[in-house]
Symmetry: C2
Subunit: 116 residues, 2 copies
Protein backbone atom coordinates (compact mmCIF):
# COMPACT_ATOMS: atom_id res chain seq x y z
CA UNK A 1 0.00 0.00 0.00
CA UNK A 2 1.20 3.38 -0.95
CA UNK A 3 4.51 2.07 -1.98
CA UNK A 4 6.80 4.56 -3.62
CA UNK A 5 7.13 4.12 -7.31
CA UNK A 6 10.87 4.38 -7.12
CA UNK A 7 12.63 2.67 -4.32
CA UNK A 8 15.66 4.72 -5.01
CA UNK A 9 14.83 8.31 -5.65
CA UNK A 10 18.27 9.31 -6.76
CA UNK A 11 16.77 11.04 -9.73
CA UNK A 12 18.10 14.53 -9.28
CA UNK A 13 15.89 17.48 -8.33
CA UNK A 14 13.00 16.37 -10.46
CA UNK A 15 12.32 13.39 -8.29
CA UNK A 16 9.89 15.22 -6.08
CA UNK A 17 7.73 15.50 -9.16
CA UNK A 18 7.53 11.75 -9.25
CA UNK A 19 7.08 11.56 -5.53
CA UNK A 20 3.97 13.69 -5.71
CA UNK A 21 2.82 11.87 -8.79
CA UNK A 22 3.20 8.60 -6.95
CA UNK A 23 0.63 9.72 -4.41
CA UNK A 24 -2.09 10.87 -6.74
CA UNK A 25 -1.44 8.33 -9.42
CA UNK A 26 -3.45 5.18 -9.24
CA UNK A 27 -6.21 5.36 -11.75
CA UNK A 28 -8.89 6.78 -9.45
CA UNK A 29 -7.09 8.78 -6.80
CA UNK A 30 -7.14 12.00 -8.73
CA UNK A 31 -10.88 11.93 -9.20
CA UNK A 32 -11.52 10.79 -5.67
CA UNK A 33 -9.55 13.69 -4.30
CA UNK A 34 -11.28 16.00 -6.69
CA UNK A 35 -14.67 14.97 -5.39
CA UNK A 36 -13.57 15.20 -1.80
CA UNK A 37 -12.66 18.84 -2.31
CA UNK A 38 -16.38 19.40 -2.54
CA UNK A 39 -16.93 17.96 0.89
CA UNK A 40 -17.17 14.88 3.03
CA UNK A 41 -18.47 11.81 1.25
CA UNK A 42 -19.60 8.37 2.24
CA UNK A 43 -18.31 5.25 0.57
CA UNK A 44 -21.26 4.71 -1.67
CA UNK A 45 -21.53 8.38 -2.49
CA UNK A 46 -18.06 8.21 -3.96
CA UNK A 47 -18.94 5.01 -5.68
CA UNK A 48 -21.92 6.58 -7.36
CA UNK A 49 -19.77 9.40 -8.64
CA UNK A 50 -17.36 6.92 -10.22
CA UNK A 51 -19.57 4.62 -12.22
CA UNK A 52 -16.81 2.36 -13.46
CA UNK A 53 -14.99 1.66 -10.28
CA UNK A 54 -15.43 -1.65 -8.55
CA UNK A 55 -15.85 -1.94 -4.83
CA UNK A 56 -12.50 -3.58 -4.47
CA UNK A 57 -10.69 -0.89 -6.41
CA UNK A 58 -12.42 1.89 -4.58
CA UNK A 59 -11.55 0.35 -1.24
CA UNK A 60 -7.98 -0.07 -2.40
CA UNK A 61 -7.59 3.47 -3.56
CA UNK A 62 -9.18 4.89 -0.45
CA UNK A 63 -6.94 2.80 1.75
CA UNK A 64 -3.87 3.99 -0.10
CA UNK A 65 -4.94 7.58 0.13
CA UNK A 66 -5.50 7.06 3.82
CA UNK A 67 -2.12 5.38 4.26
CA UNK A 68 -0.52 8.35 2.53
CA UNK A 69 -2.25 10.63 4.98
CA UNK A 70 -4.23 12.43 2.35
CA UNK A 71 -7.69 11.49 3.52
CA UNK A 72 -9.32 10.62 6.81
CA UNK A 73 -11.62 7.67 7.27
CA UNK A 74 -14.24 8.04 9.95
CA UNK A 75 -16.24 4.99 10.94
CA UNK A 76 -19.50 5.44 12.78
CA UNK A 77 -20.20 2.32 14.78
CA UNK A 78 -23.72 1.89 13.57
CA UNK A 79 -25.68 -0.53 11.63
CA UNK A 80 -25.97 -0.30 8.75
CA UNK A 81 -22.37 0.88 8.70
CA UNK A 82 -21.57 4.47 7.98
CA UNK A 83 -18.12 5.53 6.87
CA UNK A 84 -17.18 9.02 5.90
CA UNK A 85 -14.17 10.10 3.93
CA UNK A 86 -12.76 13.57 4.16
CA UNK A 87 -9.55 15.31 3.27
CA UNK A 88 -6.80 15.72 5.79
CA UNK A 89 -4.80 18.90 6.01
CA UNK A 90 -2.16 17.29 3.86
CA UNK A 91 -4.81 16.24 1.40
CA UNK A 92 -6.29 19.69 1.27
CA UNK A 93 -2.86 21.10 0.51
CA UNK A 94 -2.96 19.17 -2.73
CA UNK A 95 -5.80 21.30 -4.02
CA UNK A 96 -3.67 23.63 -6.14
CA UNK A 97 -1.96 20.63 -7.67
CA UNK A 98 -5.18 18.84 -8.55
CA UNK A 99 -6.63 22.07 -9.84
CA UNK A 100 -3.59 22.65 -12.02
CA UNK A 101 -4.10 19.20 -13.47
CA UNK A 102 -7.75 19.87 -14.04
CA UNK A 103 -7.13 23.28 -15.53
CA UNK A 104 -4.68 21.88 -18.03
CA UNK A 105 -6.97 19.00 -18.86
CA UNK A 106 -9.91 21.33 -19.37
CA UNK A 107 -7.99 23.47 -21.80
CA UNK A 108 -6.06 20.84 -23.67
CA UNK A 109 -8.91 18.39 -23.52
CA UNK A 110 -7.38 15.20 -24.79
CA UNK A 111 -10.79 13.65 -24.43
CA UNK A 112 -11.58 12.91 -28.03
CA UNK A 113 -8.52 14.30 -29.70
CA UNK A 114 -10.35 17.56 -29.35
CA UNK A 115 -13.57 17.10 -31.25
CA UNK A 116 -15.60 20.08 -32.37
Amino acid sequence: MAKPRHERLDCSPGCTVEATLGLIDGKWKGVILFHLFEGVLRFNEIRRRLPNVTQRMLTNQLRELEADGLIVRTVYPQVPPKVEYSLSERGRSLEPVIMALKAWGDVHAPIHQKAA
Copy 2:
Protein backbone atom coordinates in the same frame (compact mmCIF):
# COMPACT_ATOMS: atom_id res chain seq x y z
CA MET B 1 1.03 3.86 -26.62
CA ALA B 2 -0.48 6.76 -24.86
CA LYS B 3 -3.67 4.94 -24.29
CA PRO B 4 -6.10 6.69 -22.03
CA ARG B 5 -6.27 5.22 -18.60
CA HIS B 6 -10.04 5.13 -18.76
CA GLU B 7 -11.70 4.11 -21.95
CA ARG B 8 -14.90 5.56 -20.69
CA LEU B 9 -14.39 8.91 -19.14
CA ASP B 10 -17.86 9.25 -17.77
CA CYS B 11 -16.43 10.28 -14.47
CA SER B 12 -18.04 13.63 -13.99
CA PRO B 13 -16.12 16.91 -14.13
CA GLY B 14 -13.11 15.50 -12.36
CA CYS B 15 -12.20 13.33 -15.27
CA THR B 16 -9.98 15.93 -16.85
CA VAL B 17 -7.80 15.52 -13.81
CA GLU B 18 -7.29 11.92 -14.75
CA ALA B 19 -6.88 12.81 -18.39
CA THR B 20 -3.94 15.05 -17.58
CA LEU B 21 -2.62 12.56 -15.12
CA GLY B 22 -2.73 9.91 -17.79
CA LEU B 23 -0.29 11.91 -19.88
CA ILE B 24 2.34 12.63 -17.29
CA ASP B 25 1.93 9.47 -15.34
CA GLY B 26 4.12 6.61 -16.33
CA LYS B 27 6.90 6.29 -13.86
CA TRP B 28 9.43 8.47 -15.65
CA LYS B 29 7.50 10.97 -17.69
CA GLY B 30 7.30 13.54 -14.97
CA VAL B 31 11.03 13.64 -14.48
CA ILE B 32 11.76 13.55 -18.17
CA LEU B 33 9.55 16.56 -18.75
CA PHE B 34 11.11 18.27 -15.80
CA HIS B 35 14.56 17.88 -17.25
CA LEU B 36 13.44 19.00 -20.65
CA PHE B 37 12.24 22.28 -19.20
CA GLU B 38 15.92 23.05 -18.76
CA GLY B 39 16.59 22.61 -22.43
CA VAL B 40 17.08 20.26 -25.30
CA LEU B 41 18.61 16.93 -24.40
CA ARG B 42 20.00 13.97 -26.25
CA PHE B 43 18.95 10.43 -25.50
CA ASN B 44 21.93 9.53 -23.43
CA GLU B 45 21.91 12.84 -21.65
CA ILE B 46 18.48 12.03 -20.36
CA ARG B 47 19.61 8.56 -19.53
CA ARG B 48 22.46 9.83 -17.46
CA ARG B 49 20.10 12.05 -15.51
CA LEU B 50 17.90 9.08 -14.70
CA PRO B 51 20.29 6.49 -13.37
CA ASN B 52 17.72 3.77 -12.84
CA VAL B 53 15.94 3.83 -16.12
CA THR B 54 16.63 1.15 -18.68
CA GLN B 55 17.08 1.91 -22.34
CA ARG B 56 13.88 0.17 -23.20
CA MET B 57 11.86 2.09 -20.63
CA LEU B 58 13.35 5.40 -21.60
CA THR B 59 12.61 4.77 -25.24
CA ASN B 60 9.07 3.78 -24.32
CA GLN B 61 8.41 6.82 -22.23
CA LEU B 62 9.88 9.13 -24.82
CA ARG B 63 7.78 7.55 -27.55
CA GLU B 64 4.64 7.95 -25.50
CA LEU B 65 5.42 11.54 -24.73
CA GLU B 66 6.02 12.10 -28.41
CA ALA B 67 2.79 10.34 -29.35
CA ASP B 68 0.95 12.59 -26.92
CA GLY B 69 2.48 15.58 -28.63
CA LEU B 70 4.35 16.74 -25.57
CA ILE B 71 7.86 16.42 -26.89
CA VAL B 72 9.56 16.62 -30.26
CA ARG B 73 12.09 14.10 -31.46
CA THR B 74 14.69 15.36 -33.88
CA VAL B 75 16.93 12.87 -35.60
CA TYR B 76 20.17 14.00 -37.17
CA PRO B 77 21.11 11.58 -39.90
CA GLN B 78 24.65 11.09 -38.76
CA VAL B 79 26.78 8.38 -37.50
CA PRO B 80 27.04 7.85 -34.67
CA PRO B 81 23.36 8.71 -34.39
CA LYS B 82 22.27 11.92 -32.76
CA VAL B 83 18.76 12.42 -31.52
CA GLU B 84 17.54 15.42 -29.66
CA TYR B 85 14.46 15.71 -27.53
CA SER B 86 12.75 18.99 -26.85
CA LEU B 87 9.42 20.16 -25.58
CA SER B 88 6.61 21.01 -27.94
CA GLU B 89 4.35 23.96 -27.33
CA ARG B 90 1.88 21.63 -25.73
CA GLY B 91 4.60 20.15 -23.61
CA ARG B 92 5.78 23.55 -22.53
CA SER B 93 2.25 24.41 -21.47
CA LEU B 94 2.52 21.68 -18.88
CA GLU B 95 5.18 23.58 -17.02
CA PRO B 96 2.89 25.06 -14.37
CA VAL B 97 1.45 21.62 -13.74
CA ILE B 98 4.81 19.95 -13.34
CA MET B 99 5.99 22.79 -11.19
CA ALA B 100 2.94 22.49 -8.98
CA LEU B 101 3.75 18.83 -8.54
CA LYS B 102 7.33 19.60 -7.76
CA ALA B 103 6.47 22.42 -5.38
CA TRP B 104 4.17 20.18 -3.40
CA GLY B 105 6.69 17.38 -3.38
CA ASP B 106 9.44 19.70 -2.21
CA VAL B 107 7.37 20.93 0.69
CA HIS B 108 5.66 17.75 1.74
CA ALA B 109 8.70 15.67 0.91
CA PRO B 110 7.39 12.17 1.36
CA ILE B 111 10.92 11.02 0.77
CA HIS B 112 11.72 9.67 4.18
CA GLN B 113 8.44 10.25 5.93
CA LYS B 114 9.66 13.75 6.54
CA ALA B 115 12.88 13.36 8.46
CA ALA B 116 13.99 16.37 10.49
